[in-house]
């Protein structure tokens, strides 16, 4: 009966309830989306492997390292595999079509990235074609690329018009695997650069080192950097996660701002909801006084208001959470390669649930206490 009273009271002012639920839905949805944006920001770091180290120029990422370092890196104790990667920064048709492009050492690259699932035949076709490229599934789907398609890119760092042939499409082993990358042969890049800009040839952006013992990461990093100390191109080696977090740190202020806004949204809906509950409780003071006159204890009367507040928050929250998934899907597609990994995490859903409960509890507490403590004579007088 008490639950019936709670649920029927909730639906008493249908428009007010509908608007409050809508507000809750939008707030929880917005919170979920903003949390997912923050997660997407950290997706690179989250997807990092503990068995990979990144070696780059100690001055800055924009300074390349000589290709001659590769052999010396291979000989360092604890390093099992060495591969290279170069940021290409080309434009596909229009600058709006942004996606990451890397010139890599095809022979070693994919062995270090087992999370990229590439068909064997496609890999062989890629290795056979100097202009071949392997693209992620999401990227291929976005532009409708298929095996054999030619993809023209206009170079910005490496001037000129470049043409690549899609030889493979890789899938991600996990949901957090980035399938938005465009990967092609460093040899193709280097040969062209050697011809046009010989001074910039035989260099790579970063070295990616495969290590067998993740617990030795710090020690191996130290060994690598010691190897090239006092050379023309000193190195800075760190774990892949630290390397990715370095990018996030550059935009830390934006992440903090998004987090603040997401909690601000919750705070606003809490205030709106508290106002709704206070209005409802004020209107029903005679009823609460009647219940108290009939012998209901203050906690039971307050429980009616509290229950209504939590019930409404949970319904609004549930609707918001349910909508987060399709909206995030559409949002992620609209964002394109800006957020290559855009998935609503379990953590986000748990936070949404926690926020819904918190809003319901906080919004209901003051009206519930007022309803429970109403003086019976005063409350009954209010009915007249």
């Amino acid at each position: 009966m008490f639950l019936r009273l709670v649920s029927r009271n909730t639906l008493r002012h249908k428009l007010r309830t509908a608007l409050t639920l809508l507000g809750l839905l939008v707030a929880i949805l917005a919170f979920g989306l903003l949390s997912t944006v923050v997660d997407a920001w950290y997706a690179g770091a989250e997807g990092a492997s503990s068995t990979r180290l990144i070696t780059r120029s100690s001055i800055s990422l924009v300074f390349p390292l000589p290709i001659t370092y590769r052999e010396r890196l291979r000989q360092i104790d604890g390093v099992s595999t060495v591969t290279t990667s170069n940021w290409f920064g080309g434009v596909y048709v229009t600058p709006k079509n942004f996606f990451p492009q890397f010139a890599v050492d095809g022979e070693t690259y994919f062995s270090l990235y087992p999370e990229f699932i590439l068909d064997d035949a496609q890999y062989k076709a890629f290795m056979r074609d100097r202009k071949g490229a392997v693209v992620g599934r999401k990227l291929a789907d976005r532009y409708g690329w298929q095996i054999g398609d030619t993809v023209p890119l206009r170079g910005t760092i490496y001037a000129g018009n470049w043409e690549f042939v899609v030889r493979g499409i890789y899938d991600g082993r996990e949901a957090k695997t980035d399938t938005n990358q465009f990967i092609f042969h460093w040899q193709y890049l280097n040969e062209t650069v050697k011809r046009l800009l010989p001074r910039r040839a035989d260099t790579v952006g970063i070295y990616i080192l495969g290590i067998d013992a993740p617990d030795r990461a710090a020690e191996i990093s130290e060994l690598v950097d010691a190897q090239f100390r006092n050379s023309l191109a000193e190195t800075l080696t760190e774990t892949e996660k630290s390397f990715q977090l370095g990018f996030v740190a550059m935009t830390e202020a934006i992440v903090v701002a998004i987090r603040i806004v997401s909690y601000l949204v919750i705070f606003i809906i809490m205030a709106v909801m508290a106002n709704t509950m206070a209005m409802s409780a004020r209107e029903r003071l005679p009823e609460y006084a009647t219940l108290k006159a009939l012998g209901f204890q203050p906690w039971r009367v307050g429980g009616l208001v509290f229950g209504e507040s939590v019930f409404m928050a949970m319904v609004g929250g549930a609707l918001g959470i349910a909508l987060t998934f399709p909206v995030a899907e559409v949002f992620g597609q609209a964002m394109g390669s800006l957020f290559p990994i855009f998935h609503v995490s379990i953590g986000t859903v748990l936070l949404q649930i926690a926020c819904s409960v918190f809003v319901g509890l906080v919004a209901g507490v003051v009206p519930a206490v007022r309803a429970g403590n109403v003086r019976i004579a005063d409350g009954l007088r209010a009915v007249a």
Binding site: F2, T290, L291, A293, L294, G295, F296, I376, A377
Partner: protein, 236 residues
């Protein structure tokens, strides 16, 4: 009054005083009031506005506390009970009939009658059966699934009376029970209250301005400026 009868009063009031703070000043509403109410009495409390009749009713019903004096109901001095104990006492010993019925608008007639039984140690089925029986006693068995807004004023008051008696309380307190009703409905309600008094032996204390309602009572207590006035006497 029935003071001369060799019976034990169900309500025994001695030296009851109550004042309210208004505009920073203490205004005495009841001062040193003595009154006995016996089992099976049907008492009408009358008097001009501000005479303290509603305050007295609230004190007897245990929804307010006096400044001094004792108020015993069936031997229990309810002025000494804590708020929590008083709430429990009300649930078992007092049935309320209000001027504006005070039904829960989101509950049906039957659910409204069943409401006080939530505080009794009864199973769901037993609660439902008792509520149905009580609703039929007030002649509204066919309206059990109706919401208060679907009932006339007189019908709503009958539901309220059913709610008041469903727990079989010691006292029935009614504050202007016919104040919001037309003449015909008021007559029906008074007749119902008379039946509760005569057939079920319910002790009823009723505040009213309505002379016709007062005439239905066994006795009338006239309150004037917080004390029992000269006009007290039999209603019939």
């Amino acid at each position: 009054m029935s003071a001369a009868e060799p019976r034990t009063p169900v309500v025994e009031i001695r030296g009851l005083a109550k004042s309210y703070q208004r505009g920073g000043q203490s205004v005495a509403v009841l001062s040193g009031l003595d009154l006995d109410i016996f089992p099976g009495d049907f008492l009408a409390l009358m008097g001009p506005s501000g005479s303290g009749k509603s305050t007295l009713l609230n004190l007897i019903a245990g929804i307010d506390k006096p400044d001094s004096g004792t108020l015993r109901v069936n031997g229990v001095d309810i002025t000494r009970l804590s708020q929590s104990a008083l709430a429990e006492w009300r649930a078992h010993h007092v049935g309320f009939i209000f001027q504006f019925y005070n039904l829960m608008p989101v509950l049906t007639a039957l659910e409204n009658v069943e409401l006080p039984l939530l505080l009794a140690d009864l199973g769901r089925r037993e609660r439902r059966e008792r509520a149905e029986l009580t609703l039929s006693m007030v002649g509204l068995a066919d309206r059990s699934s109706h919401y208060p807004s679907e009932l006339s004023g007189g019908q709503q008051q009958r539901v309220a009376i059913a709610r008041a008696i469903v727990t079989d309380p010691t006292l029935l307190v009614a504050d202007e029970p016919t104040g919001d009703l037309d003449r015909v409905s008021a007559g029906e309600i008074l007749h119902l209250m008379e039946r509760l008094n005569t057939e079920l032996g319910k002790t009823i204390i009723m505040v009213t301005h309505d002379q016709r309602a007062a005439e239905a009572a066994h006795s009338i207590v006239q309150l004037e400026k917080g004390a029992i006035g000269l006009g007290a006497g039999d209603g019939r």
